[in-house]
Structures are given as structure tokens and as C-alpha cells.
Amino acid sequence: METIINPVVKVDAAFVYIIGFSLFLLFAITATMVWFVFRYSRKRHPRAADIRGDWRLELVWTLVPTLIAMSMFWVGWSSYAGLRNVPDNALTIETVAMMYSWIFIYPNEKETEDELVVPLGKPVRLEVTSDDVIHGLFIPAFRIKVDAVPGVHTYAWFLPDETGTYFIQCSEFCGVGHADMTAVLRVVTEAEYLAWLETEAADE
Amino acid sequence: MGSHHDTVGARTGMWLFLYTEIMLFGGLFVLYSAYYRMHAQAFISTGQELDTVLGSVNTVILLVSSFLVAAAITAVQRSQTKGAMALLTGAVLLGMVFLANKYLEWGHKFHLGIYPGSPGLEDSPPGRIVFYGLYYTITGLHALHIVMGMVLLIVCIAMIGFGRIQKERFLLLENCGLYWHLVDLIWIFIFPLFYLIL
């Protein structure tokens, strides 16, 4: 089995690339601006030059930002592609959103409310839909977010590569209980997961 | 202020207003195109429930009334006051016939229990509900425009009578005419999209 690349890595790299470039540009613009205001203040520079433009310069600062923008687009897009291409062996869990809770349905028909338990190291595909209005499934730790639209099936996938507890939130405004529409994601070892799946399924 | 004598500018303003009308109906055609893509079969089968004869008659009515309005401008330009008023009156009457047909058509559908939220419609396949939703929205909005257009034409008839619209001064008639033609124009697209769809 080939190793699965965690899309979180690529998304974070895209963040770093774009924000880094942006900070640099912001600093350059601001510093230049402040320097000009200081250097060419009316006290120091009483007579302005008459410069109305320079097509070479304008061409440069049209083309260069275009290239930068294109590179950012590509970085962003390829990280998105990682979020969309689900590995074949993914564990599929049905997710139904409703005002104001999350229902997760496992392959063995087991249902949980506001608690998603997944095994470590196995990619998980969430099939998302909604019962009433539009909600948004948002797991910040895995950089995934997808709207739960009534009548439509959307999906998202993630690679739980570390055990622990993460939070799930609703990202699309859905009414009074919007902010309380949270759930817990527990990443456990495969053995724990299997045990959990069996025992709790028997309970209900 | 000088602008009051600039008929080209005033007509430009009217055209700009027509663009907003085009985009208003355009939003509905955006929806139509998307839903046609999603429910092509249902659209085709439901379209056959509409009365093609009535739709065709209404198309002819609007085309003729458009012609009458265009001819009325020619009449005004030639100082044929009576003729212009007669032509416009004809157009208004045709507008009434159009509305009467629409009333019959809607009334018949309501009689059959097909209207938004009706039990008869709620049980049908999704595409059919959407088709009728669009049908009622677009034709209803269009009928509303017909009514407004008729009011404008009636104003024009009165203005011709008072001598406020005449050979050298027919901007109002031109602009009202433009509105009427636009309503016709929109129908030219509604007709095949709803009545002739196959």
C-alpha cells in the first residue's frame, strides 16, 4: 500500500507560502510609502517633479503580480486537490446534520450523536448531508470544511494520523443553536475503535 | 437646465432602465437554465401540459401590439394624431386580451389543482414542481409588466390627446414604446421555453 499524503501538510504549506509572500509585499509597500512621505515632505522637497507615468514600470508591476498570483493560485489549487481526492481504502461514515446536532452513521449501521470515533491511520471519508437547513461540517485540526446541504450529498476526507480529541463545529449559520452545534472527534487505535464499534452497537 | 432638451440622453436613460429589466428576468432565466439541466425530462413532459394554442395566440397578440406601438410613433411623426391614438388604443386592447388569456390559462391550471403548494402538485416528481414554480413566477412577473406597460400606453394616449406628444416632441411615447417592446421581447423567449419545449 502506498503511503497516503496527509492533505493538512499541503494546505499548511499553501498558507505559509501565501501569507509569507503577502507579509513581504505588505512590508515593502508600507515601508516605501512611509519613506516617501518622509523623504518627499514639502519641507524637504518643495518642488515636485512632473512624472505622469512610465509604461515600462507599469508593465513590470502588472506582469510580476500576475505571475505571483498565478503561483499562489496553483499552490492553493493543488492543496485543494489533496483535500478532494479520497484514497481508495477510506472508511466511509455517513454524516447527517440537523438543528442542532451531528449524527454519524457507521458501516455497521451504528449511530452516534455529536461524537465521531475513528481509527488511527485509516483515511476517513465523511458523506455529508442535512435534514433541514444548510449546516457546515468543520474540523479545523484536519483543515476540512464542507457544507451539509439538504437534498445534496457532499463529502470530505481526512487522515487521522495522531490519537487525541479534536473538535467539530458547524460553520454555516443555522439558527439559535448554531454556536452550540459542536461535536467531538476522537481518534483512537484500531483495536480500541473495533471494540468501541461492537460494544456500543450492541447497546442500542 | 439643459438636459431637458436632450432626447438622446433621455432615451439612453430609458435603455439603461431596460437593461435592469433584462437582468431582472435574466436572473430567472439563469435559474431556468440550471433547472433545465437538472430536470430535462420532467421539463419536457410537463411543458406539454401547457396549452400551445393559447401560448401561440398570446405570442401573436404581443407581436401585433408591438407593431401597433411602433406604427403609432410613425403616425405621430407624420402628425396623424387620431391615427396614433387609435393604434395605441389597439395595443392596449390587445394587452387586455393577452391578460384575459393568461387569466383563463392560470384559472384552468388552478382548477386542475396545479398551483404552488397545491396538493396535486406536491405529489408530482420534483422537476414538475420546479417547472411550475418557474412558470408561475416568470409569467406572473411578465403579466405584471404587461399591466404597467398598458398604464404607460394609456398615459401616452392621453398626452397625445392633450397635445403634449406631437410631431417634434414624442420622447415619452418613444420611451413607453421601448418598454412595451421589451415586454414583448421577454415573451418571445418565454414562449418557446415553456410552451414549445420538447
Partner: protein, 558 residues
């Protein structure tokens, strides 16, 4: 006694025989009602004078701005501590919805075109009024009617709680008074459309002879580009809102998935208007900055044609990127690809503008004044807003930060840091022209510094909150988001007093006698060649536009 560092004389001023005190010699539009038969308050309510209508808008928009600021302030105070702080969840939802609706439809969209546009566009192109003065007044009444409905919905039982986006199916199923707010937005859209219609016709038909397309001042150019967007995009919103009303009243089922409808199509229609609307909001602001920077640098704008071109480019390309609000909506991946790509394309013309403004200052002769200070703040804040827009435009990162506080911070940097600050800049720039009075400089600077400081403290933590994953429109939040929200609240506590100081400073200036000269800053566009405040018909003699609107060679410090 006010310091008068701005007092300059230009050759053109001297060419007009009345000189610096001409504002006293010419009867201003304040003393000349139009139509002349109306007196007192009627001379305002029935006025056909574009300048009076502009001031009517200014009064109303200021009122709405204050209401919306207070609502936003309350939202932030509620979020300052976790759990219930000052209001319940229903009230909170209504507060942020009305904050958004009022800010967007009653302030940000109409403010710049309706106030500065109405006042200055005819003067900048050398004419005496807009093409359709009656329509102009009608626009104002529609604006007031829409505003009145918004007020009613504030107090009607169940103020709307959908957010300003009115997403279906929630907006169809909620029991609150959404219909009223939708109607208000519909009417306000009509008002905005008619203003756009008026401006396009005016620019085409009423430019003073001798003013070709490349002699039009950049502010008017930006209004012209905006007007087309207003005209062509607004009807799409109108029909969309109407459809939601139909959906609520008749149950047409057009967006109901149970009946074959598709809620995602609503989002398409909504953003087909509402994304271009972002450019309706920001383009005139860019125009204001393009006027201010050259005047205080006493130097021609760098790349006039590039700025004109980028205004048109932004208006065009900006109309085709709407779906970048929908990357998580379940839209096709192809659409994500295309709309992400187009979003990056639209970043380029904005970048061109920023570079041109900064270059304008190169080798200029820069005089610091409150308008310039606000304009420089604009460039900084707008750059932050624009650059964080790149993060949002990139498909992968967008998924993480969409619908989080990152978005809230981003669009406030653009809408408030951008449109808001350019509005403040324009207000300080044209205040002496509009009212004939100069305001207190030090208080203006102080207010600007308070606003910017508060602004940064208010919104920068939201970027971090968003990256950490705090969604927007949350009444309550997880423990780890507490510090960021607390700092944001602190920022609001600094920013809001700054805003009030600015408003009060301007208001106080109205008590002084009319004393501003026609051209206090040394501007070159036509509005500086007429008295402050201008007479009813704007120009005493027929204006003679120069070959180039930003020729500062004749402007000199004495």
C-alpha cells in the same frame, strides 16, 4: 483661530477676479433653493439640486452608520467573554444580521456614490446637475423608504436572524420577520440602480465641451465603472430576494430540495450580485484615494490610464468571480478551479492601483493633512485586506478559513479599512468644499489615530481566531478562543470613541462662519475652481477643463 497650513493660492484662483474670499461674494446653493418656490425644510425635501440631495444622503447615511456601528459594537461586547455577556442568542443573531444589512445596504453601498458622487460628479465634469434630477430625488426617497422598513424590522417582533446573506432554506423556514428586511433590501437595490443609471447618462451626455474621456477625473471614472455594476448586477439581487419572498409566501419550491429545487443555486444568484457589490463598495473609494494622493503630493497621478483601465478591469473581472464564496458549498471542483483562478486575476488590477498611488508620492512635495493621513491609512489597511483576500482566493486554504473569523477580519479590512477609510478621507478632503468650513486638524488626526489603533487591535486577533478555526456568527465559543475575542472587544472600545470624535469634530466645524477658500488644498480638478460652497449652478462662468486633469504645474505654494 484655526491654523491655515492649507492656505495656498493657485494661478487659477487669481484668474477668477473674486479671489480667495469669493465664497462670500457668491450666493451658495444653501441660500438658493431649487426649485425656487420652496422654502425652509421643503426646499430640502423637494429639492432637485444634486448638492442638496447629496447632503440629504449624507445626513441619512450618517444616521445609519451610527446605528450599525452601535449594533456591531454590541455584538463585539457580547463576544468579549464566553457565554452570555450582555444579550441572549436570539438578540445576538438579530444584532449581527441587522449590523450587516444596515452597513451594507444603507451605508457602504450607497454612501460613496450617493453622497460624494451626487455632490461632485456633476462638478467634476463641469456641468450644473445630474441628467435626471427628479429621478435623483426619487432615489433618495426610495433609500429612505428602504431605511424606514429596516427600522420597522428592528422593532417588529422577531427581527431577522439570517445574516445579511439570507441563505435558503434557513431564510425560508425561520419564523422571524425576514420578508420585511428582504423588501427593504429590494427597495434599496432599486435606489442604487437608479443612481447608477443617472450617473452613466450624466457622464455620457453632460460633460463640458472639451472634456474627452481621458480628461475625466479619476473619481468620476470610478463612479462610472461602479454605475455599470450597479445597473447590471443589482437586478439579479432584486429577483433573488423576490424569489425568497415568493418562496415564503407561496411556497413555489424553487430552492426547496424536497421539491426539486437546489439551495446552492440561491447562493449563485445571491453572489452574482453580492460579489460585484463588493466592487460597488470599493471602487469609488479607490477613486477618492486617486484624487487625494496627487493633490497632497502636488504631483500628477502616476499612470492615469492604468488606473482608469484597472477600474474597468476590476468592474469586469470582479463580476465573474462570485462563486469563490462557495468553495465549500458542494459546488463542482471544476467551478472551484475556475473561480479560484479568476479571483487571482482580479487581484492584479487592485495591485496596479496600489503601486500607482505609492509611486505618485515619489519625488512629490507631500503635505501631511487629515485627508492624506486617512488616505495613507487606507492604502495600508486595504493592502492587508487585499492580501488576505489572496489567502481566501486560494482553494485549499479557503476551505480552512471560509466562514470563520478570518473572513470577518478580511472583509472588514476591505470594507471598513478600505471603503470606510476612503470615505473618511473623502469627507475630510471635500468637507470645506461642501460646507465652506475647515475643521480642527489636531482632533481629526487624533480621531484617525484612535480609529486605526482600535481597528488593528479589533481585527488582527480575528485573523488568528479564524486560522485557529473559530467560525463566524457564533454566539458562544470554545475556551481557546477567549483571548482573541477579548482583545477584539478592547479594540472596539478604542475604535468607537475615535469614530465619534471624528463625527463630532466635523459637526463642530459647522458652527464657524463660512471661511474656506475655493481651493484650500491646491487641487486641479474642476470642483476646486468653484466657490466653497458652490453656487446653485456650480459654475460662474463656463469651465475650461485642461488637457490633463492632474496638471499641477500651475499650482504653487505662495
Amino acid at each position: 483661530m484655526i491654523p491655515r497650513p492649507w492656505a495656498v493660492s493657485t494661478e487659477r484662483n487669481r484668474a477668477i477676479p473674486m479671489g480667495e474670499t469669493m465664497s462670500n461674494a457668491v450666493t451658495s446653493f444653501y441660500d438658493t433653493p431649487f426649485p425656487a418656490r420652496f422654502r425652509g425644510v421643503w426646499s430640502w425635501l423637494f429639492t432637485l439640486d444634486h448638492k442638496r440631495i447629496a447632503l440629504l444622503y449624507l445626513g441619512a447615511a450618517t444616521f445609519w452608520f451610527i446605528i450599525a456601528v452601535v449594533l456591531g459594537f454590541l455584538v463585539r461586547m457580547e463576544l468579549m467573554t464566553p457565554g452570555r455577556t450582555i444579550m441572549g442568542a436570539e438578540t445576538y443573531n438579530a444584532a449581527f444580521t441587522l449590523h450587516g444589512v444596515i452597513m451594507i445596504f444603507l451605508f457602504v453601498i450607497p454612501a460613496m456614490p450617493a453622497i460624494f458622487g451626487n455632490f461632485l460628479l456633476p462638478i467634476q465634469i463641469g456641468t450644473d446637475d445630474v441628467f435626471f434630477p427628479k429621478l435623483n430625488l426619487l432615489s433618495w426617497y426610495l433609500y429612505m423608504l428602504g431605511g424606514a422598513l429596516a427600522i420597522v424590522s428592528l422593532f417588529a417582533d422577531g427581527p431577522p436572524d439570517t445574516g445579511w446573506t439570507f441563505y435558503v432554506p434557513f431564510s425560508v423556514s425561520t419564523q422571524t420577520n425576514v420578508g420585511l428586511t428582504l423588501t427593504a433590501a429590494f427597495i434599496l437595490g432599486l435606489s442604487s440602480m437608479l443612481t447608477g443609471l443617472n450617473f452613466i447618462t450624466t457622464v455620457h451626455r453632460m460633460r463640458v465641451p472639451g472634456m474627452g474621456w481621458l480628461q475625466i477625473p479619476l473619481f468620476t471614472w470610478s463612479l462610472y465603472a461602479t454605475a455599470w455594476v450597479q445597473l447590471l448586477a443589482t437586478p439579479v439581487l432584486s429577483i433573488t430576494l423576490l424569489l425568497v419572498v415568493f418562496e415564503r409566501v407561496f411556497g413555489t419550491g424553487l430552492f426547496d430540495p424536497a421539491r426539486g429545487g437546489d439551495p446552492v443555486l440561491y447562493q449563485h444568484l445571491f453572489w452574482m450580485y453580492s460579489h460585484p457589490a463588493v466592487y460597488i463598495m470599493i471602487l469609488p473609494g479607490m477613486g477618492v484615494i486617486s484624487e487625494i494622493i496627487p493633490v497632497f503630493s502636488r504631483k500628477s497621478i502616476f499612470g492615469y490610464k492604468a488606473i482608469v483601465g484597472s477600474s474597468i478591469g476590476i468592474a469586469t473581472a470582479g463580476s465573474l468571480v462570485w462563486a469563490h464564496h462557495m468553495f465549500t458549498s458542494g459546488m463542482s471542483d471544476v467551478a472551484v478551479f475556475v473561480f479560484s483562478f479568476l479571483t487571482f486575476i482580479v487581484a492584479v488590477p487592485s495591485a496596479i492601483k496600489v503601486f500607482s498611488w505609492v509611486s505618485t508620492m515619489y519625488k512629490g512635495s507631500i503635505l501631511m493633512t487629515p485627508p492624506l493621513f486617512f488616505a495613507l491609512c487606507f492604502i495600508y489597511l486595504f493592502s492587508v485586506g487585499g492580501l488576505t483576500g489572496l489567502v481566501l482566493g486560494a482553494a485549499g486554504p479557503n476551505i480552512q478559513v471560509h466562514d470563520t473569523h478570518f473572513v470577518v477580519a478580511h472583509f472588514h479590512f476591505v470594507m471598513f479599512g478600505g471603503t470606510g477609510f476612503s470615505f473618511f478621507a473623502g469627507l475630510h478632503f471635500w468637507w470645506p468644499k461642501m460646507f465652506g468650513r475647515m475643521y480642527h486638524f489636531k482632533r481629526a488626526y487624533l480621531s484617525a489615530i484612535l480609529i486605526v489603533t482600535g481597528f488593528m487591535l479589533h481585527y488582527v486577533p480575528m485573523f488568528i481566531l479564524g486560522l485557529q478555526g473559530m467560525p463566524r456568527r457564533y454566539y458562544d465559543y470554545l475556551e481557546q478562543f477567549a483571548p482573541g475575542n477579548f482583545f477584539a472587544g478592547l479594540g472596539a472600545l478604542i475604535m468607537v470613541p475615535g469614530l465619534f470624535l471624528m463625527v463630532i469634530n466635523l459637526m463642530v466645524s459647522l458652527k464657524q462662519p463660512v471661511d474656506a477658500p475655493a481651493d484650500p488644498w491646491g487641487g486641479t480638478t474642476l470642483e476646486w475652481s468653484v466657490p466653497s460652497p458652490p453656487p446653485l449652478h456650480n459654475f460662474i462662468e463656463r469651465p475650461r477643463p485642461g488637457k490633463y486633469p492632474y496638471d499641477f504645474s500651475r499650482v504653487r505654494t505662495p
